[in-house]
């Protein structure tokens, strides 16, 4: 064999050995590297998928919160309007009950009556008065009695064409002839603001009991006879001790008036 051929054979066998060595190296390194790559790819793709999922779920949650808050706002609006409606209905129901009661009373009374509405309270703190929406144009006259189904309210002290002023029974200047119904004892009560009305000069030893009904005397042609005024709340001696005074709990709450009946005085016989 010529010398050149020998050298070429030698070179080829070296290349084959190198190639085999390289293959072995590739097999030895490539296996674990592929595993690592797979793991890395899985981890990365897992993270991306998880992130995308979380973004998606956060978006959905935000949407749900947004929708819920809109729904809550809508429901709150509905609730507020329902509450308003309920309040209006309650007021209307109270008014209609009161009007029905007044109508019943109006039919029972033999006298001319004028239904009126309280439009204002008196502007200062010294007087106990209310203003009514009816005046001389409707037949209201000075001195007319003002009542409700529950009791006496007061008396007209000022009258104009379309309005009138009522001095309430709680005013210290307002006096009213009354009768303790059970024993038939007459007397005069006078108001005392928010405190109990007072019936003075009751003879000592009079058989008055707590909760005895006090009604209107009504002989003067102004206030209706036997209309309720209040009940006996307390019995005490006068400051001088010569007679008794009775504290009267009025049956009408003069601080919460809406509809009333005005009774012009009847002509005296």
């Amino acid at each position: 064999m010529p010398l050149g051929n020998e050298r070429r054979l030698g070179d080829q066998s070296e290349s084959i050995a190198e190639a085999i060595f390289l293959i072995i190296i590739i097999i030895m390194v490539g296996g674990p590297a592929a595993g690592f790559l797979l793991t890395a790819a899985t981890t990365v793709s897992g993270m991306i998928t998880k992130g995308a999922y979380q973004v998606e779920s956060t978006k959905n949650l935000a949407n749900e919160v947004l929708v819920s808050s809109q729904r809550i706002r809508e429901l709150e609006r509905k609730l507020a309007s329902a509450e308003l409606e309920l309040t209006t209905l309650r007021c209307q129901s109270r008014d209609s009950n009161s009007l029905r009661a007044l109508l019943g009373l109006k039919e029972k009374l033999p006298r001319k009556t004028i239904a009126a509405e309280v439009i204002a309270r008196n502007p200062d703190n010294w007087f106990e008065q209310v203003v009514l929406d009816k005046g001389t144009a409707d037949g209201v006259t000075l001195g007319s009695a003002v009542i409700t189904r529950d009791g006496i309210v007061g008396q007209i002290v000022k009258v104009d064409k379309d309005a009138s002023v009522v001095r309430l029974i709680t005013d210290p200047e307002q006096k009213l002839g009354v009768l303790i119904k059970r024993i038939g004892l007459p007397g005069i009560i006078s108001g005392n603001g928010q405190q109990l009305a007072v019936m003075n000069y009751i003879p000592v030893g009079t058989n008055v009991d707590l909760n005895d009904k006090i009604v209107c005397f009504g002989k003067g042609g102004v206030f209706p006879e036997n209309h309720p005024v209040g009940t006996v709340a307390a019995i005490r001696r006068d400051s001088d001790g010569a007679s008794m005074a009775i504290d009267v709990k009025l049956s009408e709450n003069c601080y919460d008036l809406n509809q009333v009946l005005v009774l012009p005085p009847t002509a005296q016989k």
């Binding site: 008196n122 200062d124 703190n125 010294w126 210290p172 601080y255």
Partner: protein, 186 residues
């Protein structure tokens, strides 16, 4: 504008404020407005200086001092008193008097006037109700002094509480009108 304020205050007092009360006593929006008006607008006549008082006679000084009350406050008080007498059986002379007296305590040159308004309204309301009580007593109304402290004190406290809400817009109005006058003068 003043007529509108009077009408609005009167309607508010009759329809709303008089229905809101503490222990049976409510605040008086008209009286608060009268006092705050006097405090805000004061008198067109300036108060005498110490030198002027020293050089003048007692009669002149007294006259000058008397004239430094608020004329517009008295007129406003008189207007409210006339409205009151349409409902009540008497003319409350306390209202124009208090409007006039409030002018002595004019706070237009004080920056921190809001702090002084509260005690001034408290004292002047009490004084106004004392004059009112005296008038009612003279007219023969029963139980006036029995209820005086409760009514006057409660009303004075309530009026003092609402005073800043009346004073701030009124002072703003006064400052605006003064600014407009200055601009027109230019």
């Amino acid at each position: 504008m003043t007529a509108l304020i009077i009408a609005l205050a009167w309607v508010l007092q009759l329809a709303v404020v008089s229905r809101l009360f503490v222990t049976g006593v409510g605040c008086s929006l008209p009286l608060t407005i009268i006092i705050v008006w006097g405090i805000t607008f004061g008198s067109p006549i300036s108060k005498p200086s110490i030198d002027e008082l020293r050089l003048t006679t007692i009669k002149t000084a007294m006259l000058r001092q008397a004239l430094t009350g608020s004329i517009s406050g008295a007129l406003l008080g008189a207007a409210f008193a006339a409205l009151y007498s349409s409902v009540l059986q008497h003319y409350p002379i306390a209202y124009p008097l208090i409007g006039w007296i409030a002018g002595y305590f004019c706070l237009r040159n004080f920056n921190k006037a809001i702090v002084l308004v509260i005690p001034l309204v408290l004292i002047l309301t009490f004084l106004g109700e004392a004059i009112n009580a005296l008038q009612l007593y003279v007219l023969g109304r029963p139980l006036v002094f029995d209820n005086f402290v409760e009514i006057a004190l409660t009303e004075a406290i309530l009026n003092a509480l609402i005073a800043p809400f009346v004073f701030l817009p009124m002072r703003g109005w006064y400052e605006f009108s003064r600014y407009r006058q200055v601009m027109e003068a230019r």
